[in-house]
């Protein structure tokens, strides 16, 4: 069994991370009733005997003593991390996993990336190595951060670079929270574009998530639970948005939104943690979904987002789940994949779903989904037999789709608007190591990425003939 380490950077990253650990504990508590430290648990948690001074680890198969998260928490302010340390999750972290400063990055990518990046470089590498040493087969780093601010965006991408340097063979999957257009941080377009260049160059996969989409989903669920549709009642213990049943009691703002992202991470890793009839390991994600190294941005959608209390016909509900995965309402980022081009698509199913259900739904959905000519059957499927808490089954779809181009174009335009006026530029340029060329390089990187998408989009709708085959002399 392999292990993964979560690296959460910045305020947003730590808030999502906090929800993730809460839900992960709940999920394992639900599946693992015997209190034995099993392989599934070992993928995200260490089992530490606290009686032994140095935190000696207990092996798989022993009783659970004291679970420690395989995580590194980085923030340049103390607020969020302190809150975690005072909250119910304090037990799963210890001080060696934390790295904080007091002054923050002031929404400045350059401060996070350059100033803190060089100041804390050694300490960050040290903590990452420690986390890696606790794993006997480290497969993946999950980086959680936001794009708009200073710490998550700047220091987060610095951490990504360090991961590549230190652990070139370990997969790097990044969950990036993209700012909405009406973001209150004025410099967010700068930060995002500068961070994008790093993500394009150093990540194996990036799963972009947008605040606005999360807000929409949460609102819709609230509306539904307030009796929007007669006869349908939402179960309160649904894992998706509710924090109930977990360790933390009262819900905080953003918790609902962060829960959704935390669930995304849980579902991605489910097949690597639990058994199933068609396993999907973490290293298979990039292998199947990334045809060209730079085009590694994947559109996530998650269903079901809530459990209705009334019981429908199971198979209809199952088919509905597959349809939902391809509706905009269930995407975690606003985009229009159905009117763009699919390069590849993964369906990660959990629960009591059989291969025939998968086949049936792929056949059913296929005609409505435009795939690139050379990958008409670009489906990757995984079947994990353990469903998420409170559901009989769930589906996570990850699509490599050219629709992200519009998100990037929009971002690029907002960047240009600021950059043309040279607004706030001096805040960046007086940071040590930051030069104007960084801006131009970042914007070039982004436009070349957009161009690559354009290039593929251009083939859409055209009848592409089969490539001329090799002929054999007979």
């Amino acid at each position: 069994m392999t292990q993964s380490v979560i690296v959460q950077v910045g305020q947003c990253g730590n808030q999502i991370g906090c929800r993730f650990w809460d839900l992960a504990l709940r999920e394992h508590a639900h599946v693992n009733k015997r209190g034995v430290y099993d392989e599934a648990l070992s993928s995200f948690f260490r089992n530490v005997d606290s009686r032994i001074s140095d935190g000696g680890a207990c092996g798989v198969g022993e009783r659970i003593q004291h679970l420690k998260a395989r995580a590194v928490l980085v923030d340049m302010e103390e607020g969020v991390v302190n809150e975690i340390l005072q909250g119910p999750l304090r037990e799963v972290f210890d001080s060696t996993q934390l790295l904080t400063d007091v002054s923050g990055s002031g929404n400045n990518w350059a401060v996070g990336h350059m100033t803190y990046g060089s100041a804390y470089r050694e300490q960050i590498v040290d903590k990452l190595r420690k986390a890696a040493e606790h794993c006997d087969c480290l497969q993946c780093f999950f980086l959680i951060h936001s794009m708009g601010g200073g710490t998550g965006s700047g220091l987060g991408t610095k951490v990504l670079k360090l991961l590549e340097e230190e652990f070139p063979d370990v997969c790097r999957i990044v969950t990036s929270v993209y700012p909405s257009a009406e973001d209150d941080v004025i410099t967010s377009p700068y930060n995002s574009v500068l961070a994008m260049k790093e993500l394009t160059e150093h990540a194996d996969c990036v799963i972009p998530v947008e605040n606005q989409s999360l807000v929409d989903i949460v609102n819709k669920i609230k509306y539904m639970s307030d009796g929007g549709k007669p006869g349908s009642v939402i179960k309160r213990d649904s894992a998706i948005i509710s924090g109930r049943g977990g360790l933390s009691g009262a819900e905080k703002p953003f918790d609902a939104m962060n829960n959704i992202v935390a669930n995304l991470l849980l579902n991605i890793t489910s097949s690597a943690r639990f058994e199933g009839s068609l396993n999907m390991d973490l290293n298979e994600i990039a292998m199947n979904l990334v045809p060209f190294p730079r085009l590694h941005y994947l559109v996530p959608s998650l269903t079901p987002l809530y459990t209705l209390a009334d019981v429908n016909v199971p198979s209809r509900r199952l088919d509905q789940m597959f349809s939902d995965a391809f509706s905009k309402n269930h995407q975690l980022i606003r985009a229009d994949p159905k009117h763009s081009l699919y390069l590849a698509c993964a369906l990660m199913v959990r629960g009591n779903v059989q291969v025939s259900d998968l086949r049936r739904n792929i056949e059913r959905l296929r005609p409505s989904l435009p795939f690139v000519s050379w990958n008409q059957e670009g489906w990757k499927t995984g079947l994990c037999s353990v469903p998420p808490v409170g559901h009989s089954h769930s589906l996570l779809a990850l699509a490599n789709n050219t629709c992200l181009k519009s998100t990037f174009v929009e971002l690029s335009e907002r960047f240009t608007k600021l950059y043309r006026k040279k607004a706030h530029l001096h805040h960046y340029l007086h940071v040590d190591g930051m030069e104007q060329s960084c801006f131009s390089e970042a914007v070039t990187s982004l436009s070349s990425l957009i161009e690559e998408y354009d290039h593929l989009d251009a083939t859409k709708g055209k009848i592409v003939l089969d490539a001329t085959r090799l002929s054999i002399a007979t």
Partner: protein, 370 residues
């Protein structure tokens, strides 16, 4: 000189002994001793003749040329010998004594002796009877040998060099390879079993329950030993064969009247072999080992005529020449083969060049060398 001759004689005796052992190993009963052979060369006598009649009968019976009814024994000696003579004619041995029955050769007496029978035996051995006996015996002894594939004969007659024949040939070769591997694994298995038995039989506590299986295994063992003996005898025979044939030459020389040969040429209408086209005949003969009869039958015809003895100088010569005509024939064949090989290589080269030209003109074509 004298010493050399003596040693040669000893050697001949040993070689004939080798042949006798081989014949015995192929399962023939009552094989004459080398001494009987020697006596036959000089006519022998009734006792010698009797032994050779028996041997010829056994051989012809075993190879299925003649057969006697269930009673086993022929009605009388003369009937018996008539059948053997007919059998010999069937194998292509047309010595005049084989026809002599009707004219009552026994009264003539002078033209028939043990030597004639010895020559007839020589003919049988030269025409592949020995190999036939050997194959038969091997099949008898080796229970694990697979039945020979019927397809083998299929190839030689139909093979032409078009692509489907080539494919068929590839299939057959593949099939043989697979069979070989199956055989090898069987052999391995058998070896291992034998080993187990050997080591088990060494241990004193052989249980009574294993008795039954051990008899079967003993039989197996026995058969295997016989098989080994047979193969060993054949291996011993092969390198010294030539000595025997040289000796047979001398038998031929002693045979003062060449009627053996003449008669065969005189009766083309009776003999089915002679009715065939002469080239075919020679072709067949040339494939035989250095055979005495071969020389005789080649007289007056074919490519080796110039090198062979005519009936006249054959009569006159006391010592056979050092060079056997058949060996010259084989030389000729070797020359022809070399010539043909040269021609083939030239054609191959031409073809390859032409192929390269053709390929040069076709773009985007990937050629996979065979």
């Amino acid at each position: 000189m004298q010493r050399r001759k003596a040693s040669v004689n000893v050697e001949v005796k040993q070689v004939i002994g080798t042949l006798c052992r081989l014949l015995t190993a192929t399962g023939l009963d009552a094989v004459p001793t080398p001494e009987t052979f020697r006596r036959a060369k000089f006519g022998g006598g009734l006792e010698v003749e009797g032994q050779f009649w028996q041997l010829l009968t056994n051989i012809l019976q075993r190879t299925g040329v003649i057969s006697f009814e269930a009673g086993g024994q022929p009605r009388g000696d003369s009937e018996h010998r008539k059948a053997v003579a007919a059998g010999l004619r069937q194998t292509g041995c047309h010595a005049d004594w084989t026809y002599g029955r009707q004219t009552g050769e026994e009264e003539e007496g002078k033209s028939f002796s043990g030597r004639d029978l010895l020559l007839a035996l020589g003919w049988l051995l030269a025409t592949g009877t020995l190999e036939a006996l050997l194959t038969q015996r091997v099949q008898q002894l080796d229970k694990l040998l697979l039945t020979p594939l019927p397809v083998v004969s299929l190839v030689s007659s139909e093979l032409q060099f078009d692509s489907s024949s080539l494919r068929r040939l590839q299939w057959l070769v593949g099939c043989l390879r697979h069979q070989r591997r199956i055989l090898l694994s069987m052999l391995e298995e058998r070896t291992r079993k034998l080993h187990t038995i050997c080591s088990a039989s060494l241990s004193p506590t052989a249980s009574s329950s294993s008795n039954q299986s051990s008899t079967a295994l003993k039989e197996d063992c026995d058969r295997l030993r016989q098989l080994c003996d047979l193969l060993e005898a054949y291996l011993n025979w092969k390198p010294v064969e030539n000595v025997f044939w040289t000796w047979m030459d001398s038998v031929m020389d002693c045979h003062q009247t060449p009627s053996f040969a003449k008669e065969s040429l005189h009766t083309p209408s009776v003999c089915q072999h002679n009715s065939q086209r002469p080239e075919k005949c020679e072709d067949m003969l040339m494939r035989l080992p250095t055979a005495q009869t071969c020389r005789v039958r080649l007289q007056g015809k074919g490519p080796v005529r110039d090198h062979s003895y005519t009936a006249e100088n054959f009569q006159g010569s006391v010592e056979p020449s050092d060079i056997l005509p058949a060996s010259q024939a084989s030389q000729l064949l070797l020359q022809t083969e070399a010539l043909l090989l040269q021609k083939r290589d030239r054609l191959r080269l031409e073809n390859r060049l032409r192929l390269q030209e053709v390929i040069g003109e076709l773009e985007g074509l990937v050629l996979i060398p065979p």
